[in-house]
Amino acid sequence: MIPKLPFFSKKEPIDKSRVYLPDRREFLKISSLIGGGFLLGVNFQCAGPKGETRTFAPNAYLRIASDNTVTIIAHRSEMGTGIRTTLPMVLADELGADWKAVRIEQAVGDEATYGDQNTDGSYSIRMFFEPMRRAGATARHMLRQAAAEQWDLDVSGCDTRDGMVIHESSGQQIPFGDLVERLQQLSIPEEESLTLRSLSDYTLVGKDVPIYDIQEITQGKARFGADLDLPGQQIAVILRSPVVGATIRSYNEEKALQVPGVTQVIKIAGNGLHPGLNKPLEGLAVLADHTWAAMKGREALEVDWDLGDNWDYQCATQMEAMIASTQQEGRLRREKGSVKTAFAGGGKAFENTYRAPYYAHATIEPPAALADYKDDGSIVIWAPTQHPQWARDSVAEALDMDVSRVTVHVTLLGGGFGRKSKPDFVVEAALLSKAIQKPVRVQWTREDDLHHDFYHSHSAQRIKAQLDGSGKLVAWNHHTVFPAIGGTSNAEELHPSDGEMGLGCTDFPYDVPNIRIESHEARAHTRVGWLRSVSNIHHAFAICTMLDEIAEDQRMDPVDYVLSLLGEDRKLSFAEEMKGSYPNYGEAIEEYPWDTARMKAVIRRVAAEAGWEEAINQGKTLGFAAHKSFLTYVACIVEVAEDASGNLIIPEVHYAVDCGIPVNTDRIRSQFEGGAQFATSLALSSAIRFENGQVIQNNFDGYQIIRMPEAPKKIYTHIIESTEKPTGVGEPPVPPFIPALCNALYKLKGKRIYELPIKEGFA
């Protein structure tokens, strides 16, 4: 089962919404969840697979209580981006609510009620900004109407602010809560009669708004995946197949059962050589009264594994084969003009091979989930999942039960980065709870997390670039090869999908007359998944370091060179040139074309803010790169230096970003600060390696992520003012940072970087 991912398939555009009053039956159902008061439901209408209008009803709830509390449902998962705060904030601002009186409730996973809840692909803001505004505007319209009736004044003189309806000229004001009864008598206004506030009228949107959960977090009260207990629960720690596809020949549980606190050992069947994205690996679960006993019990298990076909998988060997394959003709993915003719035309050519390793997500919270299988054959789950609906569907499938009997509550996520979209760990808890008819909490260890992740693929790329006699770049031939995400489920999927190719490879935006982009075959020997910005990571690394190399050869400033390569202001759709589809992150290309003018603007901005020319003249060592991903335009300048003992330091990072309307500026900056640090790890330190089918890194000593002394010292994010549709910022900071750092390091050390991670090669 492939989830609805924006880079796999076209996303259903959610651009229509209808606000309505729930009927009595629905009202009672909702009231039982979030209390009484005035309730508003929001339908988000979506185009279905055949273009028909589908209505999800109702999609979000807003409740105004007589005590003036406004309750807003957050239906997206919070993993650190701030989305649980930011979307309700949009509704509250449009409504004119008093933000301090707003309560946020987390939705359970339910497609029929909430529509899309897959918190992935940096598209929450992009898809739900407008519907949230309209929901707020509807309630505001009704509040004004109710107050005008109460005062017998004209509605046009009424507005909302700080949780009150205010009549400016008469000076009257009334709190929202006092209008609840009147609101319940009103009907929903026509869509056409709604007026949205202008951007300048907002008091929260476009500002720095702190996250809703901040005090809970700083006081240790916030609840993550492993923080809930149920009476009678058992804790499960699972020994999983060391090699993907391995199966248990036999096992002996006696010694495990002797560990005090261990109650039983249960086998979980795997799904074979291509285990899929939502199924558990084969394993033995040790159930115990507490976590420590389960861990000790697992150590005492004796298992005879049939390691299966992947027993001799060496990632280093596959890397060499992938590199060799890029010398051959591959599958054509985009073509413009003829690179062959251009190659024959003479002039200087550049040809480089780039390699990048497997990466693990390594969220500091390892996967964990609590499942409670009940006597009536229903099951209730609490899990830190990015995709509660997929978790729900996967549990229903694994337990062979109707999906209506599965409830998935979403806790806070201790980091996600794509890992916690996959519900394998949720299914494990569900299977075990059903097996013992008691609540079970599955706890992964760090070793489990690093050994059994859905990894970012290792990759090889070869780029050949051809200049003509005058130094103009006339041909670009990009070969890319990496085990595709689809290969995790399907042995036949040996090439990256159109979606993965569209992540920074086939959407090459530069004004080059001859372009040829090819992919090559690579088999998945492990579970491959998606990690923060996905294939953009390795594609941007190769493209942006190559351009820097050509600029240097042509004695051009790299910033000027990239600006000139972007050419005239153009809106690109790549229409005639793609040899497959171009999903464009799930959006219509007409609405979100590749806009070179927007990219040039962020490049100019970052160069100005970083003082690019002055800094270089002062002897600072700076690198530059620009990359658009997830419809967000980003340019980045990284400064590097060496300290007295020759250690690399990153004194300063500047980002400029055009993400359309900036919604929560503080959370935009925090995503860029975090993105730079995440990317520093990928560039310098992190790598997962397979030997004999097994991951050889066990914990944070082997799989290294940066620590505070290695982090960039100052990170500045310059946000472009815009009235374009807002786009996400979770992933886009990562791709350009890595090549910007590599380009700076080249200036420092005089050596080009063709392989990640680069720490070993630095000294």
Partner: protein, 152 residues
């Protein structure tokens, strides 16, 4: 299984546990204090940091039998009202992203300030190097520690 009497957040608690059970699991599983987090089990990430007689300690690697009569403080006991200068500074700088590592970061920072009330930036970096954050809040953590230290 042995019986242990532990002082946790100023309260004496009796628990029955195997001698090798790490303090982390005593705190989380037996005392149901969930603010202290599990991250690596090997004292490599700092998510489980608590104070043992005021010293920042990785509770995942300290067996319950080794605690003795030393006073254990968890994030829940850092300040009775949740307004320790560091908690206030964390709020002012909106430090957390996902928030998972922040209990450990705060406990480690509190031990640092107790020992060195005016740390330099490089002293902060060195003292906080054992606490991993995957979201990338290191800059704000450093800024928040500097803010709290300037106010004490």
């Amino acid at each position: 299984m042995e019986k242990y009497r532990l002082s946790v957040n100023g309260k004496m608690q009796e628990v029955t546990a195997p001698a090798d059970m790490p303090l982390l699991w005593v705190i989380r599983d037996l005392l149901s204090l969930k603010g202290t987090k599990f991250g690596c089990g090997q004292a490599l990430c700092g998510a489980c940091t608590v104070h043992v007689d005021g010293v920042a300690t990785r509770s995942c690697s300290l067996p319950v039998s080794a605690v003795g009569d030393r006073a254990v403080t968890t994030i829940e006991g850092l300040s009775p009202t949740g307004d320790h200068p560091l908690q206030q500074a964390w709020e002012a700088h909106v430090v957390p992203q996902c928030g998972y590592c922040q209990s450990g970061q705060l406990m480690n920072a509190a031990a640092l300030l107790a020992e060195n009330p005016r740390p330099s930036e490089s002293e902060i970096e060195a003292a906080m190097a054992g606490n991993l954050c995957r979201c990338g809040t290191y800059n704000r953590i450093k800024d928040a520690i500097l803010t709290a230290s300037s106010q004490s």
